[in-house]
Symmetry: C2
């Protein structure tokens, strides 16, 4: 029997609360009129709250990758040297974008499953004694491996070694899942997306710009039109977007911010932290290997290897077909070797408990020596 | 931290699938025009599929109780003798309605938690040697105790003993959760509601009328206007309802029937049967007492006593506040003594697994000697 209900346990898009779906289900309004301006203004204020910043924030009709491209083309010029703290697939993606525009990339790769070591970054930056590196890019959370970086420590190292350089952060999957203090940590450009902890469908990216980032914009010669952030700011100042905005997503973000503000930043972080602890306690109890160690474990997504001899893709298709649970596949070198369970946004602790139960059953039926209920017990015991 | 997500585990209203919510989210259309007529006609055809009947079916803007009243006022006259097979609160309700209209009620009560014994009905009917009993009323499923009646056997007894009498069934919470063959079993009037296995919000009741039931209508003198079913049929024949219909609910029923037809009656019954088995296996593994025994156990709802010394209402508030799980309270004499878990409609097997996990944790933290994970294991093992 095909499952009637879906449990979307991927690291974005996350499930969408009914209140947000309902808010999106609004007739179109004039996007150059005062009604829309008020809503967009409140969305941008809400983004500033989430970013913990007073910097400008611009929104774009695009996916998170568009926001990453925006960060590159508005700050650099061809031949500029930039360092990419790279802990996985989304690190690779930013490198690819930069290379496509002729940026001189230093690709500082770390072992998959590990967070970037600030000491390694420090040593790498120290090599650049002429201070040619103009920008340091990093992921807050690497979705492909389930690892969270210590952005605060990395930014500190960057500022100390290269005070003139920009620090740019891809916070698409990390924002709101974990603390990110844009201003206090001196993050010049921060990119986020609607489809993660905001619990809104994909289609909007937000990009913040510090004063320093704006000064880089003035010198940047990379070609840009759609992504031109000064142009976007000109419209944002009028409560508009340059191109026609995806209105339902703006309505959704508006409702999302209302819901999230009520919950409060600390509670949102705690909620995601608990989800991480639930999943990790369960997988440890079942003797499964996770790609990330405890230190770098992401509050948004966990990558885990199935028991010995069990095919990760088989697990994904079984749990989809029998339980309606959608898990994410391994990426890159881990394709087919592991699966990932998203636990950010509108994914609930109890859905994680249920998913662990379903995994136990599937593992056991596939021949693994799994004690059904053991992972669930460990998961439940994380809930005080 | 207040839960962000709700798990509605009550015996109706059940959760609503997004597709149905989306279908309801439609602008209003003229309810006397051809567009609405087509939709209503298809809804009535779908209801006939669900009822397994060729009888007329009329829909009313009202809750299930309105359907129960419709069944009474359109078939009987003041002073008419009618027997009510009564296994719980909704049996009591039908008795109350009938008494309010001056029907001479024979209230055949059974012990709570037990299905009606056809032999007891047979004996009771045998006492009425003059065949004065004109109608026999019964619940298919009694929501207050979590018991399902053997409607087929009860109807057989009724037909054999009193072939002239009507058989009227309240199938509000039972229709689609378990097999109900309106025509094959000779059920003259069957009442259902939108908010149960149809997975549509409350607000619509449907009432079927056999030819025999129509012949009773002609002799019935009970006062009626809103419930007048011949008047309602006159409008139904034009693809309309007598009064202004709650359009979103009609749109929702239309989508529901499309979804359910794809699943098929047998699969729908199996899905509910599995939910029952999951819940019962778990509660048995935890040593909990259920009000219904296996023979009469409802596929739609299970009433269960918490472990010794634990307050049922405390369990309900804890699981609501900490997990967002909404359970139903005990009714009547069981108020505060037990709670009920709804598992019909858009309640998923995996949500039941999760709810059992949450209950285990709560019971354990309240001091019960519960082995966390044991109920979940038993539940999972029901899923082949």
């Amino acid at each position: 029997m095909a499952p009637l209900k879906q449990f979307l346990m991927i690291p974005g898009p996350t499930p969408i609360p009914t209140e947000i779906l309902a808010a999106m289900n609004h007739e179109m309004i004039g996007h150059r009129g005062p009604g829309f301006s008020k809503i967009l203004g409140e969305v941008i204020d809400g983004l500033k709250w989430a970013y913990q910043t007073k910097n400008d924030i611009m929104v774009y009709p695009c996916s998170g990758t568009g926001g990453m491209e925006t960060a590159v083309v508005n700050t650099l010029s061809s031949g500029d040297k930039a360092l990419f703290v790279n802990i996985g697939n989304f690190g690779d993606r930013w490198v690819k974008i930069a290379k496509a525009y002729g940026v001189a990339v230093i690709d500082l790769k770390f072992e998959p499953g590990k967070a970037a070591d600030p000491k390694v970054l420090e040593a790498e930056l120290a090599k650049d004694s002429n201070k040619e590196i103009k920008a340091i890019f990093m992921q807050q959370n690497e979705t492909s491996t389930g690892v969270i970086n210590d952005v605060k420590a990395l930014a500190e190292v960057a500022h100390k070694s290269h005070p003139e350089a920009l620090v740019l952060v891809d916070a698409v999957s990390g924002l709101l899942a974990a603390d990110l203090k844009t201003d206090a940590w001196g993050l010049d450009v921060v990119v986020s997306g609607s489809q993660k902890a905001f619990m809104v469908p994909p289609g909007i990216a937000a990009v913040s710009m510090s004063k320093k980032a704006w000064s880089f914009y003035e010198k940047s010669t990379l070609p840009k039109h759609y992504w031109d952030i000064k142009n976007q700011k000109k419209f944002a100042d009028k409560g508009q977007t340059y191109t026609t905005p995806p209105e339902p997503l703006i309505f959704g973000m508006h409702k999302s911010i209302e819901i999230l503000k009520k919950e409060g930043l600390e509670n949102i972080f705690k909620r995601h932290e608990l989800n991480k602890l639930i999943v990790r306690a369960a997988f440890k109890a079942l003797g499964l290997r996770m790609l990330a160690d405890d230190a770098g474990a992401s509050p948004a997504v966990t990558a885990v290897f199935p028991p010995e001899g069990i095919d990760a893709e088989k697990v994904r298709s079984e749990i989809r077909n029998r339980f309606g649970v959608e898990l994410a596949p391994g990426q890159g070198e881990f394709k087919g070797k592991l699966f990932r369970i998203g636990h950010l946004g509108y994914v609930d602790k109890l859905e994680l408990v249920a998913t662990i139960g379903a995994l136990e059953l599937i593992f056991s039926q596939m021949g693994a020596k799994i004690e059904i209920g053991k992972g669930v017990k460990a998961a439940l015991e994380q809930i005080k």
